[in-house]
């Protein structure tokens, strides 16, 4: 079994993506007083980005070989 199969590499890439999404300066873009459907933009961003990341992880890991 290969240690770094394609799946592992894709997931590692998602980890890096997450690190970018949840750090400066991306966070600063959303750290403003604005709302979407009444909810502050920053909080919408957090949960949407987080959810999307999990969805991508699920897609990578559950995709048949």
């Amino acid at each position: 079994m290969e240690q770094f199969d394609v799946r592992g590499q894709r997931l590692a890439a998602l980890c890096l993506l997450g690190l970018v999404l949840f750090s400066y300066p991306v966070l600063a873009v959303f750290n403003v007083h604005a709302t979407i459907a009444g909810i502050p933009l920053l909080y919408v961003y957090f949960f949407v980005a987080w959810g999307a990341l999990i969805a991508l992880m699920a897609m990578v890991i559950e995709r048949p070989d």
Partner: protein, 896 residues
């Protein structure tokens, strides 16, 4: 307020339910039909990560600074993305080596070091105490919130601690399992994970839609409140700066790997590597779900209660304030689930470590105790573990009393996170870097832990007035540079970031530096290879350890630790599958499952007459490997040599074929050359014989031709004989000292007739005096004649000019015979020296002469130690040159 008896009865009923679930799961496991062998149960059990911290503390944190609760869950999500690479490796290693705890894992990696296991255990226990105190604080606070202060019971937190200790003992240490599996516990905490999620979502939904009109309503009200509105874009203000947010993310990434309870549920309790696949996205999803309502509850509480209310208990006080007592009870149960789940798994994990990696190695080394002779040690093991559980909970209570009350829940928890993060360099480094050594891991862990104590633990005590506060504000003894919250003057960071930076610098620095300074021992090297290359070798491979022991000794040893029945079963299992030679390792593995690798190693040494794995042995193994390398290298050399030999053979064959061809050619040429004059002689003599009345002049002319042909024939035969003599080495050489000037003068004179006939001019350029050379006079004359007649032969009669030059050069004499004939094409310049090879006449395309002269000449000159060659350009004549070595003075004197 709820009735006190309800608040006491309901938790008991709930815990009884948990116990029933655990009991059922254990029964099923014993029957071989595990209920927890499912990726969904596995994912839920990982959610033991969500504790009272999540349940109560997150809201408190959010009420304080908005986003501050999130990195604790986003960090693990990012780390889990790496699990397919990292955790799968840890799982594989742990299954192969029957790892029982985090301490066991690290100790095993670094050569089954008992000392290292002990250090890890101590760090884990001390580091986790704040975390346990957090649970006690939360549970007792929630109890007081729903039931009010109960008169006459004293300190609720102490009761909670004792109650949880009793429950954990009942739960986790009923019997000893060879693989340290607690199926019942896993089933119970998976259930608890469901309960806490449902409870939290229920209260969140009630706050959002019951108390307020949805998310938009809550956030709109917050925005309208000047004191609260900065929380909607908190970075750079109430939420702190980005760097501390990122550091919290990194810290949580490490915590999800190295919290003892996470290691327990993720690695030790894992039933199937493949469960990781679902857990990788289900567990983050769980964390997302339990966080959705944190902000609405926090803001709802801030809006609802006057400033200064305890935000950590908003989850409970909000429904209480609205007389939603049933909901409050559900929340209380949810919080209890979160706290008990954490305490149970954490203390079981820690007690295993304390027993296997701290107490047993010490006891086993104390010969006075004669543990080796005890029939049954299972009771002792259970006793140590139960004692450890009680002790850990009481220490947690003590920490709560000393330092816990001054901090909010999350701040307490983060101190523990920073402590377990110290395991990361040794554990992750050991997973991918073979160079990490036991000393390096020890140095790194101690250094990191020391910095942690100094920058986080001591300040916690100082804040609670257990240490003078001046220590915090002005540094120890007033040394500002050593201020625990601004080490070396580095200020402006929050306390956790500050501690993380310095402890990681110390930890990683010491780990790497010390590892590089000392070579690992043989045992360390073996373990390092087993860990790092776990995917590269088949299970159980590369065991170098050798030893002999009687099967009955091994059986008795195992039985002492796991009990007779379990030992019998294990041996039966081994007999079914394994090979007999492997029994020692099998028993060591089984024992390692109970008392950890380090202790098992010590125990086995007592019955196995082991040939200790010396450096020599390792060297021998390495030698074997390198011999194989050398052998294959030699094979390669051999095949190269073979190839070379084949090439030589092929070349020799080609030369032989060429020689054969040349021999055939020689024979046919010779017969042809002989036949030509013979035919002429025969035909002219026949004419003379048949025509007696031929005129005299005619007859004389014919006879002249016959004579000439006869001479040619003689010459040819002489040359062929010369060649055969030269080639067979049967030539007699009559060497003498020659004056080359005389040789050339005489030869020129004797060939002058030839030159006159063709009307070619011969010029001689001879120096006045030249040293003598040693050679055979007749042979050298033969060469000069050959060269001169050759020159004449190819020259156009009338305008021809041949020049012969003699010159002295350092070490030899040189003779050049230059003509102004047609020259020789470059292609012909070498072949003309071969037998029967002639340059074709560029004008007629015909050849003249026998083709042996130059061949013979070259053999003669080479025999005399010189060289014969030609330089020519077509159309500009040719120059044949040869050299003869000068006789040196000494040799000359001797000869004279």
């Amino acid at each position: 307020m709820l009735e006190t008896w309800v608040v006491i009865f309901i938790p008991f009923a709930y815990l009884a339910l948990l116990f029933a679930i655990a009991y059922y799961a254990d029964q099923r496991a014993d029957a071989g039909r595990s209920v927890i062998n499912s990726p969904y149960i596995y994912s839920l059990s990982l959610a033991v990560y969500a504790t009272a911290w999540t349940f109560y503390g997150s809201v408190g944190r959010a009420a304080e600074n908005g986003v501050g609760f999130l990195p604790i869950y986003i960090g693990p999500t990012l780390m889990i993305a790496l699990w397919w690479v990292v955790m799968r490796k840890i799982l594989r290693i742990s299954k192969q080596n029957r790892i029982t705890s985090l301490a066991d894992f690290i100790a095993s990696r670094y050569g089954k070091s008992a000392l290292l296991g002990g250090v890890v255990t101590v760090i884990a226990v001390i580091g986790i105490l704040p975390y346990i105190s957090l649970q006690l604080k939360a549970v007792s606070a929630s109890f007081t919130t729903v039931a009010g202060a109960v008169p006459g019971v004293g300190d609720t937190a102490l009761w909670v601690a004792l109650f949880l200790a009793a429950f954990t003992i009942l739960f986790g240490t009923r019997h000893i399992d060879t693989a340290e599996h607690h199926e019942g516990m896993v089933a119970a905490i998976a259930f608890e994970s469901l309960v806490k999620l449902v409870a939290f979502v229920a209260v969140g939904a009630w706050v959002t839609w019951g108390l307020y009109n949805g998310f938009g309503d809550i956030f709109a009200r917050v925005a309208a409140e000047p004191a609260l509105s900065p929380m909607l874009a908190p970075f750079g203000g109430v939420g702190g700066d980005y760097s501390s947010w990122i550091w919290l993310t990194l810290l949580s990434m490490l915590a999800i790997m190295f919290l003892p309870r996470q290691f327990q549920v993720t690695v030790i309790e894992n039933k199937n590597e493949d469960h990781l696949r679902k857990a990788i996205w289900l567990f983050p999803l769980y964390m997302l779900a339990i966080n959705v309502f944190v902000l609405p509850i926090a803001f709802g509480g801030l809006l609802h209660f006057p400033a200064g209310a305890d935000a950590d208990s908003f989850v409970l006080t909000l429904p209480m304030s609205q007389k939603q007592e049933l909901l409050a009870l559900v929340v209380f149960i949810g919080g209890l689930s979160a706290a008990t789940g954490m305490v149970i798994v954490e203390t079981i994990a820690l007690s295993t470590m304390v027993c296997n990696d701290l107490v047993m190695p010490v006891l086993l080394r104390m010969r006075a105790l004669r543990l080796n002779q005890r029939r049954d040690l299972t009771g002792l093991l259970l006793g140590i573990r139960r004692g450890a559980i009680v002790l850990i909970l009481l220490l947690g209570y003590l920490y709560f009393k000393i330092a816990g009350e001054a901090y909010a829940l999350v701040s307490i928890g983060l101190i523990s996170f920073a402590a377990v993060a110290q395991f990361a360099p040794a554990a992750l480094g050991g997973l991918f870097w073979k160079g990490g050594t036991r000393r390096g891991a020890l140095a790194g862990l101690t250094a990191g832990f020391a910095v942690w104590c100094y920058t986080l633990l001591l300040p916690a005590f100082a804040r609670s007035a257990w240490l003078p506060i001046g220590f915090l504000e002005h540094g120890p003894f007033g040394i500002e540079l050593l201020k625990p919250v601004a080490l070396f003057g580095v200020g402006g960071l929050d306390q956790i970031t500050h501690a993380m930076i310095w402890s990681m610098v110390a930890n990683i620095g010491a780990y790497v530096a010390v590892s590089l300074l000392h070579a690992p021992s043989a045992e360390e090297h073996r373990q390092a290879t087993l860990f790092v290359d776990v995917f590269k070798r088949p299970a159980g491979g590369a065991r170098v350890r050798r030893g002999t022991a009687s099967a009955s000794d091994l059986f008795n040893l195992l039985a002492r630790f796991v009990g007779l029945a379990a030992a019998r079963e294990a041996f039966a299992e081994h007999a079914r599958g394994g090979n007999a030679a492997d029994l020692v390792h099998f028993v060591e593995n089984q024992l390692a499952g109970v008392i950890g690798a380090a202790s098992a190693h010590i125990m086995l040494a007592s019955v196995v007459t082991e040939e200790a794995l010396t450096l020599d042995e390792v060297r021998a193994v390495l030698d074997e490997a390198s011999q194989v390398v050398v052998y294959s290298h030699r094979l390669e050399q051999k095949s190269q040599e073979l190839e070379r030999a084949t090439q030589e053979l092929r070349a020799a064959n080609a030369r032989l074929t060429e020689l054969d061809r040349m021999k055939d050619e020689f024979v046919s040429t010779v017969s042809h050359e002989l036949r030509t004059p013979l035919t002429a002689i025969r035909s002219f003599t026949e004419i003379l014989h048949d025509n007696p009345q031929l005129p005299a002049a005619e007859r004389a002319r014919f006879l002249g031709i016959v004579i000439k042909e006869t001479q040619r024939l003689t010459r040819l035969i002489n040359q062929v004989l010369d060649v055969s003599r030269l080639e067979s080495g049967r030539v007699e050489w009559h060497e003498s000292l020659l004056d080359m000037r005389e040789v050339i003068e005489d030869t020129a004179a004797s060939t002058s007739q030839l030159f006159r006939e063709r009307d070619v001019k011969l010029e001689r350029q001879l120096p006045g005096r030249v040293p003598k050379v040693r050679a055979d006079l007749d042979r050298i004359v033969q060469v000069v004649v050959n060269l001169l007649s050759n020159a004449v032969k190819f020259i156009e009669p009338g305008r021809g000019r041949v020049q012969i030059t003699l010159a002295e050069e350092p070490g030899f004499l040189r003779v050049d015979v230059r003509d102004n004939g047609p020259g020789i094409s470059p292609a012909d310049q070498e072949v003309i020296f071969d037998k029967f090879r002639q340059a074709s006449d560029p004008l007629t395309g015909k050849t003249q002469g026998s083709g042996l002269g130059l061949y013979i000449s070259r053999r003669i000159i080479e025999h005399s130690g010189g060289r014969l060659w030609v330089t020519s350009r077509p159309g500009q004549g040719a120059c044949f040159s040869f050299t003869l070595p000068l006789v040196n003075e000494a040799a000359l004197g001797k000869a004279a």
